[in-house]
Symmetry: C2
Subunit: 164 residues, 2 copies
DNA sequence: TATTGTTATACTCTATAACTATA
DNA sequence: TATAGTTATAGAGTATAACAATA
């Protein structure tokens, strides 16, 4: 699961997972000129980089996001976590089950409302989050490695104009 | 399937489909500062806009991309189409089946190699592609409506530095 | 009667493997 | 023996609906 320091992660490691608009036998036509298609290609590469750093650990981008969210919001309810990640409640249950089975989170019955849980990181969970943050940073850095600091800031600003 | 001229499509119509990093009870922590997460949010919105313009027609972004690709590359083999969209051959078969069932494409046995087909648009397919292109353009325009022309060009340039 | 979370179920998407027919 | 395409099958992921406990 750890990436060796000597072979740095590169976006070139996952280029093959996304089709390339430029060099292929086929012409993408209108798709060539659609921002949505460019975003999709970038997303595939980012997702592939995450899959690569997570390896065969069973961790997925979604599960990692869930753990990060729990770490940042100790005691959050499952419904809140589901909403924050755009998930149904059953899907959130499963993601939390995954981490609970690995002793990384625990469900504590809320003292004021015994229908709901507050979700908290365990000691092992804190360690795991630290590792995961490093891996996520590696993948994200590899994704934008070809951009200067100024370009990256501008890309983030422009993306935020879309999703904010 | 046609969007009425009087109610213009807006990204605000699908905002609810992607979680918002800014206004919610939870803090996204590290995710807040990851380009990959911003790309994912933008991708969800773009995908949702496409779903909205396609309505309940059964057309999906993937199927629309397939038809566009066939229109731009008449006579392409299924394997080429699959590769260009990052699909397995069975998945490409299904997407082409969808359009064939709607009389929009036809498989013509290649005269030189009778194992393979060339895929071609029918007359109905040409009409459908024209409609679809207008819908895709609507969705894409709505996605980037908040950007100036200069900002859009810069966004496309920066995304291309990632996916190219 | 409404809400939190779980379980049961079904659906969509996709891939791998096995098959047919050509080469 | 290899390749193009199809069919069969299975897995992952997700959602909706039904359910239990609590409010």
């Amino acid at each position: 699961m750890q990436i060796d320091g000597e072979d740095r992660l590169s976006i070139d490691d996952v280029r093959g997972r996304a089709p390339k608009m430029s060099d292929g036998p086929l012409d993408y036509g209108l798709l060539n000129d659609r921002t949505g298609f460019a975003i999709k290609l970038a997303w595939i590469l980012g997702y592939s980089l995450l899959q690569k750093v997570f390896g065969d650990s069973g961790i997925t981008p979604l599960r990692a996001s869930m753990l990060e969210l729990i770490a940042t919001n100790p005691g959050a309810q499952q419904t809140q976590l589901a909403n924050a990640l755009g998930l149904s409640r059953p899907a959130a249950t499963l993601a939390i089950d995954f981490w609970e089975a690995r002793d990384c989170v625990e469900r504590r019955i809320a003292p004021d409302d015994r229908r709901s849980f507050g979700i908290f990181l365990t000691a092992a969970g804190h360690e795991r989050v630290t590792e995961l943050r490093a891996l996520i940073k590696q993948a994200d850095d590899a994704l934008v490695a070809d951009l200067t600091a100024e370009e990256l800031a501008e890309l983030r600003r422009l993306l935020a104009k879309i999703h904010r």
